[in-house]
């Protein structure tokens, strides 16, 4: 199925178009990251409808748009977004592979201080794994940490 030319179409309308036409894609990938040494490891999972949009292409805005909006929201005195048009009027990104989509999602939804230097320091702060590599029960969930014994290639 071809994606219509969505540049200039409200992102919400694009998501509704995708919801009606694209089959959800359950990704097997999980992103495990530690935001703070005092907290347990977090596990990010891609939304299946979002993943369908990423694989289809021509729907989602480039990730830098989200970074611009985050900058606006972090500015002093923020009341509301005035550059929301970036979501709708920027040329949508082309179709991604599942791996590229996960990378996009890390840049979008994980804290910057995690992905900017995830593999520096004494232990890794973030890893991408598959669902079956995670504990299969949630016992002691609030104590989960990334193993220090992991050997991660940069």
């Amino acid at each position: 199925m071809n994606t219509p030319d969505f540049k200039g179409t409200h992102l919400w309308d694009r998501l509704c178009w995708a919801k009606e036409r694209l089959d959800p894609v359950q990704s097997d990938y999980r992103v495990v990251y530690e935001d703070s040494v005092d907290e347990c490891a977090k596990i990010l999972v891609a939304d299946p409808n979002w993943m369908a949009c990423a694989l289809q292409g021509g729907i989602l805005p480039p990730v830098w748009v989200y970074h611009e909006l985050a900058k606006d929201e972090a500015s002093e005195g923020f009341k509301r977004h005035t550059r929301g048009y970036l979501l709708h009027e920027t040329e949508p990104v082309e179709a991604m592979t599942e791996e590229e989509a996960i990378e996009y999602l890390i840049l979008k939804d994980c804290p910057r201080h995690v992905w900017e230097n995830y593999n520096e320091g004494n232990r890794p702060k973030m890893i991408i794994c598959t669902k079956k590599q995670l504990p299969q029960t949630r016992e002691w969930r609030n104590a989960w940490k990334i193993s220090e014994e992991l050997n991660i290639a940069a």
């Binding site: 999980r30 939304d47 409808n49 949009c53």
Partner: protein, 129 residues
């Protein structure tokens, strides 16, 4: 898009008028139903990019189309436990505030603290960016 209808009001068969702005402003802008047990998984959703498992009964819902501001409305619900007859309380996570792009939620069971549930439903209303 293939076509466009421009209308200021919608009229019902009974002759009642309603402004289309009521429909646009009152519609749900994001929702998600997830399985919070085991390795969490999104069952279905709209306008959600990812969900993060942030510990027992705690989730971060990230929107694809951010809200216009941080004062949007939200609600959350989950399945009760008939066998234990204990209530679950679902809502905004303690010590967090919504951002335009993310909403942190959590589930607590009375007496025992945070809890994972099979069906965790979150929705949000408001103006989009």
């Amino acid at each position: 898009m293939a076509g466009k209808i421009i209308a200021d009001t919608i009229e019902t068969g009974a002759g009642a008028d309603i402004s289309t702005s009521f429909v646009v402003n009152g519609s749900l802008k994001a929702w998600v139903n997830l399985d919070g047990t085991g390795t969490i998984a999104v069952l279905d959703s709209l306008n959600i990019a990812s969900v993060t498992d942030d510990g027992s009964g705690a989730y971060i819902n990230a929107f694809t189309n951010s809200f216009n501001n941080v004062n949007y409305g939200w609600n959350m619900s989950t399945m009760n436990n008939a066998s234990s007859n204990k209530a679950f309380i679902a809502g905004l996570r303690v010590s967090t505030t919504p951002t335009a792009s993310q909403l942190q939620t959590s589930i607590h069971q009375n007496e025992t603290g945070s809890a994972d549930r099979d069906f965790v439903c979150t929705s949000a209303f408001g103006d989009l960016a």
